[in-house]
Amino acid sequence: MKTMRKRRRRQAKASRKPCPFKSAGFQDVDYKDTTTLQQFISERGKILPRRITGVSHQFQKKLTKAIKQARYVALLPFAEME
């Protein structure tokens, strides 16, 4: 029981990372900007969840759209084989 309480308290203290796009002053995410997009995909080419990257909800939607557009024009892979 004690450990449970401790864990809960620790979770409550954890603060969210600031959104990297908002802090860098981005207005939009461009599908041609592959160097930026590559920071938000896994080694296998999957889109990383925002709980890991700290991207805000608004920018995660823009980012997802941009990654999918970049995949269509073969700038990014749909899936990277191991």
Binding site: P20, F21, S23, A24, G25, F26, D30, K32, D33, T35, T36, Q39, Q69, R71, Y72, V73, A74, L75, L76, P77, F78
Partner: protein, 118 residues
Amino acid sequence: MTTKGKDQLYEGLYIISSQLSEEARGKVLKKITDAIEAEKGEIKNTIDMGRRKLAYEINGHREGHYYLVYFTLNTLKMAGQWKEYRLNEDLIRFMTTTADIVRENLDFKPLVAAEKEA
């Protein structure tokens, strides 16, 4: 009811086969831009993104030459352009999206450097 549509700024990304000669590639691009101008569209800017390796193979192509074209066109005329593009065998892939601004180059703000400053 008749709709006239409105002029919209578009950004078209075209991947042309890299197996073609520079001259032939130019002809393919000219065909695209001429088709836009024939529909009373206006070419605002064309950026040559160069030869790039495709992230995955498309119809046997591993490389392609990327071109970015900014143009204005009536919204009702766009579907007609896509029909033309699909018949063009030298055009590996295309994507047209609506745009807000006409880009002069493809220099993007780096995300990491900006983070360090903040």
